[in-house]
């Protein structure tokens, strides 16, 4: 288990908060739009997990690669996914990133390095290795990040991927967002080891267990992993501890969780804590942070309007993009 000595400066912390504000507002808007029936889609809320991608993304460039999962819209917005195309996509419109064909579980935006979003548990990891291999082959220094959940650490693809990444010293970060539940299953019922980060040892890999709700600690973990990857020193497994506030998928009320347990975690919501901390530290003013929040709402107003005003794909789209044309 490695510790880190990287601390973000004040400006970086404020930028992390700005991204968190956008993520939080986007989640709230999504749930609102769905619950009022304006959009129909399976929605996997990431509310409560905003620190992780905010702290990761300020350590990445647009060229770095991200492979994420159904619960990954926070990862992608932090990485630069434009809100208008995001919303058009989840509304199934032709102006969406994927012309409406992919939807929330398959958002893709290579311009910002967002290469694949998968709906299959564990499947982000093998693909991230390939992106890392490409970086290694070309020597372009890009880092590939695979995000996944705690439940995914029990599936075969996790094992094969970490093993290969380590033996090939690939510039890959395996970022486990441990929200302590995989669908309705509590961590301990499925996972016989106290910390997922400890599994890194089985691959001779660096493993970091970090409080994913602590922006400073999470920044340090991400920074260390990114530096290791860029230096050609191989992959890192980060286990970032966190909690999801709103059930596995929209409509799930977490009935399988102990109420007090859940309440305790929701009370530890990292967003207001980080907000207050930034003001207390003098890193930012209330006005500045409120400005981010207003700006986020304004961007979302625009994105939702754009999405709902965009046309649905025509039926000629149904069977196109299945195969390409030979060069």
């Amino acid at each position: 288990m490695l510790t880190n000595s990287h601390t973000p400066d004040a400006a970086t912390q404020v930028e992390m908060f700005r991204r968190m504000a956008l993520l939080k507002a986007n989640d709230e808007r999504s749930r609102k739009v769905i619950s009022t029936g304006r959009l129909i889609m399976p929605y996997y809320s990431y509310r409560g997990q905003e620190v992780i991608p905010a702290a990761l993304s300020v350590n990445l460039t647009d060229d770095d690669y991200l492979v994420t999962i159904y619960r990954g819209i926070h990862d992608m917005i932090a990485k630069g996914l434009p809100l208008k195309q995001l919303w058009a996509e989840i509304a199934g419109r032709i102006d969406g990133t994927c012309k409406g064909k992919g939807g929330p579980m398959h958002l893709t935006y290579p311009k910002k390095g967002i290469m694949v979003t998968t709906g299959v548990v564990g499947s982000s990891m093998p693909i991230a290795n390939g992106l890392g291999w490409a970086s290694q082959l070309s020597g372009d220094g890009r880092v590939a990040v695979a995000t996944f959940g705690d439940g995914a650490s029990n599936i075969g693809a996790f094992h094969e991927s970490l093993n290969l990444a380590s033996v090939w010293k690939l510039p890959v970060i395996f970022l486990c967002q441990n929200n302590r539940w995989g669908e309705h299953s509590a961590y301990a019922k499925t996972t016989p080891v106290a910390r997922i980060a400890d599994r890194a040892a089985a691959y001779g890999m660096a493993g970091i267990h970090v409080d994913g709700n602590d922006p400073i600690a999470m920044y340090g973990a991400a920074r260390e992993a990114v530096e290791r990857a860029r230096a050609g020193e191989g992959p890192t497994l980060i286990e970032a501890m966190t909690f999801r506030h709103y059930g596995h998928v929209f409509g799930d009320a977490d009935a399988y969780m102990d109420k007090a347990y859940k309440a305790e975690w929701v009370a530890k919501d990292p967003y207001p804590i980080f907000r207050a901390q930034l003001i207390a530290d003098g890193a930012a003013t209330e006005d500045q942070l409120a400005g981010f929040e207003r700006d986020a709402e304004a961007q979302l107003d625009e994105a939702v309007d754009y999405a709902l005003g965009s046309a649905f794909p025509g039926l000629e789209q149904l069977s196109s993009d299945v195969y390409g044309e030979a060069a």
Partner: protein, 343 residues
């Protein structure tokens, strides 16, 4: 399959309708109550995890205990392997692979092992497991959550494949699948779990390998299964208006499919349309067409036609998703064209 054991009982029409979800839940409960060798495993199947993401296994662990109804880690290879091993030791596991697309991570266990152990052991062992899995477009779940892959398994010697379209068949096929001495892939349709269908007698069996002539007719035979049966029946109005008398057959079992019933019907009508939600090329319709054109050569009034999904992944966007799945209108058009000779 001995007739005595699995004689089909007609569904009881008078009682309160039941959903497919309820029928499956009851089938599992009834079977477990009768035979303590029946065990259930899969992700979130026990009651502390809400008895399955859609509730098919709800109440079972409370009633039969968490040793017999066990939630697993997200490990599909381990789930099927565990079912196989337990079956070799005399248990009858019902394993859930949440969605049919996730069978892709367990194909080695299903195809190379469950399906083949009886043969490769020269009959010394057998693998009486049921693999439940759900699928179906309609819930905007996109490209990795709604595929129909039944043709893959039907192409695999050693496993059977059943797909019910209503509650009585869901119950009766589940009971037969559990009784069966070989692995059975049991495909459930997510989008009509909650549709009420006529009730049935507890304990009844629907024999594996036996299709059901749901509607009699004389001009054309329409063979379908699963949720597409609803669309076929909805097509009857348009067919009637066009003066077309259609015989509709619910295949119910894909492997081994009921050639006798299908051939008898097509011998009578002279025309066949096969309808399924899977993509057309290399789908179940191809095999049915191949057999029928051979066995009834020279006796068909029109070529065997197929209606299915176009050859693309399931799209997310609602209008595309809707267009992807065969509809009553498309089915009626195809059937009318066949009868009117516009093929």
């Amino acid at each position: 399959m001995s007739d005595a054991m699995v004689a089909e009982k007609p569904a009881e029409k008078t009682a309160k309708p039941v959903t497919i979800l309820q029928a499956l839940n009851q089938a599992l409960a009834d079977a477990m109550a009768e035979d303590d060798k029946i065990v259930v495993l899969g992700e979130d199947v026990a009651d502390p995890e809400e008895g399955g993401v859609t509730g098919v296994t709800k109440g079972l662990s409370t009633r039969f205990g968490e040793t017999r109804v066990r939630s697993t880690p997200i490990s599909e290879q381990a789930i099927i392997g565990c079912a196989i091993g337990a079956s070799l030791a005399g248990y009858k596991p019902v394993a859930e692979i949440m969605l049919m697309n996730f069978t892709t991570v367990a194909m080695d266990m299903i195809v190379n092992h469950a399906a083949k152990l009886r043969y490769m052991s020269g009959g010394q062992t057998n693998v009486p497991i049921v693999i439940r899995t759900m699928t179906g477009a309609g819930f905007s779940t996109g490209g990795q959550h709604a595929d129909f892959l039944e043709a893959w398994f039907a192409h695999t010697a050693g496993i059977k494949v059943v797909i019910p379209s209503n509650s009585a068949d869901a119950y009766g096929l589940m009971r037969s699948a559990i009784d069966d001495p070989d692995p059975v892939l049991f495909v459930e349709n997510m989008p009509n779990y909650w549709t009420p269908y006529p009730a049935f007698d507890a304990g009844h069996r629907v024999p594996i390998g036996k299709a059901n002539v749901v509607v009699g007719g004389s001009d054309i035979t329409i063979v379908s299964y699963a949720r597409m049966m609803n669309e076929c029946q909805m097509a009857l109005a348009a067919l009637g208006e066009a003066g077309v008398s259609a015989e509709i057959i619910d295949l119910r079992t894909i492997a081994p499919w009921d050639q006798e019933t299908v051939l008898a019907s097509v011998a009578k009508t002279g025309r066949l349309l096969v309808v399924h939600e899977a993509v057309v090329p290399f789908g179940v319709g191809a095999e049915i067409a191949a057999v029928v054109q051979e066995k009834l050569f020279g006796k068909l009034k029109a070529p065997v036609a197929r209606v299915g999904a176009p050859f693309n992944p399931v799209p997310f966007s609602k209008p595309l998703e809707t267009a992807h799945v065969p509809s009553a209108a498309k089915i009626a058009d195809a059937a009318i064209a066949l009868v009117q000779g516009n093929h």
